[in-house]
């Protein structure tokens, strides 16, 4: 069974440009999460989808970030326009609908570098 996959693994863009990160969760997982680690800081929660609905987006830093999960399958996280402080690693995770084990399955992350 495939794990959580993220694309691209690394993206280098200039300040002001737009980047879209994609996450494909494990098939059948209703819950999808985005986290990020910016330089030298801790991994922080961004938002949580249950199927296509945003359950919790309290961690989204500002309105330059837009997450979608159309159809309740894969998700995209768009940063527009990107700023220098957006550089970091963006992790996606998923879990089954009956989330009773506390286990989130993480992807390998998408590293974003904003120059």
């Amino acid at each position: 069974e495939a794990g959580v996959t993220q694309f691209p693994s690394h993206s280098v863009i200039e300040k002001g440009q737009t980047v879209t990160l994609r996450c494909d969760p494990i098939s059948g997982h209703d819950n999808l999460y985005w986290y990020r680690r910016v330089m030298g800081k801790e991994i922080k929660f961004l938002l949580h989808f249950v199927k296509e609905s945003k359950q919790d987006e309290s961690g989204m830093p500002n309105n330059r970030f837009l997450a979608e999960r159309t159809g309740g399958t894969y998700s995209t996280l768009k940063v527009q326009p990107a700023e220098l402080e957006d550089s970091g690693v963006y992790f996606c995770a998923s879990s089954p609908r009956d989330f009773n084990t506390g286990e989130l399955f993480f992807g390998e992350g998408s590293r974003l570098t904003v120059l």
């Binding site: 819950n31 922080k44 961690g59 995770a93 506390g102 286990e103 992807g107 390998e108």
Partner: protein
Amino acid sequence: LAKTTQPISMDSYEGQEVNITCSHNNIATNDYITWYQQFPSQGPRFIIQGYKTKVTNEVASLFIPADRKSSTLSLPRVSLSDTAVYYCLVGWMDSSYKLIFGSGTRLLVRP
């Protein structure tokens, strides 16, 4: 959500048992304790979760005292491949489970 405190780093040797203790003085009644492992350039990987007493699985044991203000992750007979960052997280189990990662403990296993 409860804040956790754990050692920044630990050193060990292959074949030894490693115990990493995490302090979570403000843990709430509904909070569970979860440990994740992270290798460089990878996402965190779930190790174990518990609520109280002792939990054991194929890779680790988790010891939680009665007051639940701390927990200890025990890794038996570590190998070089156990070199990683270990995170202790505390949070409640519901449909909006948010993981609060701290700084983690960087474990270095030497030959």
